[in-house]
């Protein structure tokens, strides 16, 4: 079993979802973005309400309290588990099985920030992130949630032109996928590297003058072009 950050969830429909938990670095950056947004809004509230004297400061304190505690809950429930910072870094909060976060879980994970925050600016949260396999802080563990990368990098759907040609042997599904990927990544690989890779398939390209082009032809056949 090779090391990867992902884990798999089987849905009741029989689909295996590959989920990719987000680590401490990307979460720290998202948190810093959210922190600066909250700080900016708090400052604005204080400036606007300071004109109302003591009453204004009191109101500002209440508003800032609500902002600090319910900013993540609001955004997690309203915009698919993404606060603005998380949106910027393309990560989102979800239940461990990737279903949308429930209100109770969101409240729990955000109220437990106070525990993660100990002893100094998420010291325990960081320790928990570094020690757990899915980079969960204590609030995540309690609420059974996880922060995930929004999407695995979309395999490039780039078009490629080749004259379709069937392979001389049956190919397994991963092998077919590899061939299609090879054809799609034509522009990101050097010509020499392409030939080098193509020769590795051995009997698939024996007696061919241009192995890479032949593999592209097979890939074109595999994606359904038979003319």
């Amino acid at each position: 079993m090779r090391l990867d950050t992902t884990y798999t969830v089987n849905t009741p429909e029989g689909i295996a979802l590959e989920l990719s938990p987000a680590g401490p670095v990307v979460r720290t950056l998202a948190w810093l973005v959210d922190l600066s947004i909250r700080a900016g809004v708090s400052l604005l509230i204080i400036i606007l309400l300071a004109f109302m004297g003591s009453l204004g400061i009191g109101l500002a304190m209440i508003l800032i309290f609500l902002l600090e505690w319910f900013y993540p809950v609001w955004f997690e429930l309203r915009s698919q588990g993404q606060t603005p910072g998380k949106r910027l870094l393309n990560i989102y909060v979800a239940q461990l099985d990737a279903s949308p976060i429930s209100p109770a879980a969101s409240v729990v994970r955000n109220l437990l920030r106070v525990v993660d925050f100990l002893p100094f600016f998420y010291g325990f949260g960081l320790a928990s992130c570094l020690l757990t396999k899915r980079f969960q802080r204590l609030g995540d563990l309690a609420a059974n949630t996880v922060v995930l990368h929004k999407s695995l990098p979309v395999l490039s759907h780039r078009e490629f032109s080749a004259s379709p040609e069937p392979a001389n042997v049956a190919l397994a599904l991963p092998e077919q996928q590899a061939l299609i990927l090879f054809a799609q990544r034509q522009s990101t690989l050097t010509a020499e590297r392409q030939q080098e890779l193509a020769i590795l398939t051995e009997s698939l390209v024996t007696h061919k003058t241009d192995p890479a082009a032949h593999l592209r032809n097979i890939a074109s056949w595999l994606i359904g072009k038979h003319e």
């Binding site: 090391l3 401490p24 990307v26 010291g123 020690l131 042997v169 890779l197 698939l204």
Partner: protein, 519 residues
């Protein structure tokens, strides 16, 4: 380097995921990493601490922090072996150290490249690719085309994480220290004040905390940068494809061997299938073998009829047949509605429309007639708006005159004329004037107070009453004043218009109202 020996899953990843993979790598292999690394840091830290004079102990922390690129190299050495499932022993790691110091650009890394933000990203170029000079620069440019910003953010984030760890350690001590000495120490760290008696132990505490912080975060930082680099190499050189193609090539090579030995059996199968095919309706044998070669089918398969039955059975399951009621707003289909309306005969619509039109006109005409008949009531409804709502009650006695309406006779003008003819001039004028005042106060709602004189009333009446009425009142007041105060009895001809004008004076409002409506 054999890619098939890689201990990590090679696939296309985002740069952030690559950084996360670095963290996972350290989680997985921390035992192998931590021993040589900790040993190296401690071996440097102890001599540094012992050599420095007490006044310059803070320099020890600086040195330990400054030497991070050296530890990075040892960590990367272990990590790069670990990546191919080779565990390095502590002895092996240390024996590689002299080579790491000499050939990996350590001196530039410790001097002018110490503050580079992409330190962990480009380390592999120096150390693993062993490049230098122009070649290294070109290589670095290529690598930096993607993932460089992520490497910079990785450094920024890791600096934050180090601060978090360092201050968390202080805060942990602070939480469990009732004496308050830690708090004083933290404050003095920022004030720069020194207390000599405990200074040594406090500096040692700072030193140990810094070492712990570096021990905790640096492996993750180096591994994350390394994985960023590996991810970039995977992009550039399609490592995932190389592994897949190698496996494919090996499998195909195995297949051809099997095919040679099983050629005879294959021939038999072909012959028998050919026999069967000749009996069955015309199916092209060549296409059959071709499709067999290209289709990937499971080894165990149900016959077609059974499979159809099974599929039907599955499709009947409740999970696939559940119905849900969903309420949503959808835009109205306007064309359909128009068609519906058009189904009514045109004549009927016209008829209904004209009936309602006629009814409306009749209604409007009736309303106009009613308004004409009841115009006075309508104006009466409107008039209260013009009257002052706040009004003092009319005075009962004004400069000695009784102003209660009950005290007046029914026919004021007739009574006054009789009194005049009987020679009681004073009583006759008094009666007329009182009558006029009562009309003014009760009919005209003139705001007359007990303090008002005859002249004041005249002034008030000027703006509030009609001009004819005012003229009558003025004549009356003059005559009344003359007889009341000067005791001069007016002529009969002066008085006669008053008697004759009284009915007009008494009821001017109807005339006023009709005069407004008439034109």
């Amino acid at each position: 380097m054999k890619l098939t020996d890689l201990s990590i899953q090679v696939r296309q990843r985002s740069h952030w995921e690559a950084i996360d993979l670095g963290f996972s790598l350290v989680q997985q292999h921390w035992r192998a990493l931590i021993i040589p690394y900790t040993l190296l840091v401690i071996l440097i830290a102890i001599p540094v601490w012992l050599i420095l004079p007490e006044a310059y102990l803070w320099v020890a922390s600086l040195i330990i922090w400054w030497l991070k690129p050296l530890y990075d190299r040892l960590l990367l050495h272990s990590l790069s072996r670990q990546l191919f499932n080779q565990t390095t022993t502590t002895a092996e790691a240390f024996s590689a150290l002299p080579q790491l110091i000499r050939h990996t650009g350590l001196w530039s890394a410790l001097s002018y490249r110490r503050f580079s933000f992409s330190r962990s990203y480009n380390l592999a170029i120096w150390q693993l690719e062993g490049l230098s000079g122009q070649a290294r620069r070109k290589r670095q440019e290529l690598i930096y085309l993607q993932g460089h910003s992520n490497a910079v953010w990785l450094t920024i984030a890791c600096v934050h994480l180090e601060w978090i760890v360092l201050f968390s350690l202080y805060m942990l001590i602070l939480i469990f220290d009732p004496s308050g000495a830690t708090w004083e120490h933290i404050k003095s760290l920022f004030r720069g004040e020194l207390e000599m008696d405990t200074q040594y132990w406090r500096s040692l505490l700072d030193f140990v905390f810094l070492i712990l912080t570096i021990l905790a975060i640096e492996p993750f930082y180096v591994a994350a940068g390394f994985m960023l680099y590996i991810n970039r190499r995977t992009q550039l050189e399609a490592w995932d494809l190389e592994i897949a193609f190698r496996n494919l090539g090996e499998r195909l090579a195995g297949l051809t061997k099997v095919n040679h030995s099983g050629l005879a059996s294959l021939l038999i199968i072909l012959v028998t299938s050919g026999l069967i095919l000749s009996l069955t309706p015309p199916v092209n044998a060549q296409t059959l073998t071709k499709t067999e070669a290209h289709e990937v089918l499971a080894a165990e398969r149900l016959p077609a009829e059974q499979a159809t039955a099974k599929i039907n059975e599955v499709m009947q399951l409740e999970e696939l047949n559940s119905r849900r009621k969903i309420s949503t707003w959808i835009p109205k289909d306007k064309t359909a509605k128009q068609e519906e309306e058009n189904q009514l005969p045109e004549g009927l619509i016209q008829l209904v429309a004209s009936i309602f039109k006629t009814l409306l006109w009749i209604g409007a005409f009736l309303a106009f007639i009613l308004a004409l008949i009841y115009r006075q009531k309508i104006f009466a409804l409107l008039s209260p708006l013009r009257q002052p709502t706040k009004r003092a009650p009319a005075p009962e006695v004004l400069f000695g005159l009784d102003l209660r309406p009950e005290s007046l006779p029914e026919d004021i003008a007739g009574t006054a004329r009789r009194l005049w003819e009987a020679g009681q001039a004073r009583e006759a004028l008094s009666l007329l004037y009182r009558g006029a005042l009562v009309i003014l106060t009760h009919q005209e709602q003139l705001a007359i107070h007990t303090s008002h004189t005859e002249g004041d009333i005249l002034k008030l009446a000027k703006s509030a009453t009609a001009p004819e009425r005012y003229a009558y009142l003025r004549t009356l007041t003059q005559l009344w004043q003359r007889i009341a105060y000067a005791h001069r009895i007016p002529e009969t001809r002066e008085l006669l218009p008053l008697f004759e004008g009284w009915p007009a004076f008494q009821t001017p409002r109807v005339e006023l109202a009709s005069s407004e409506v008439a034109p």
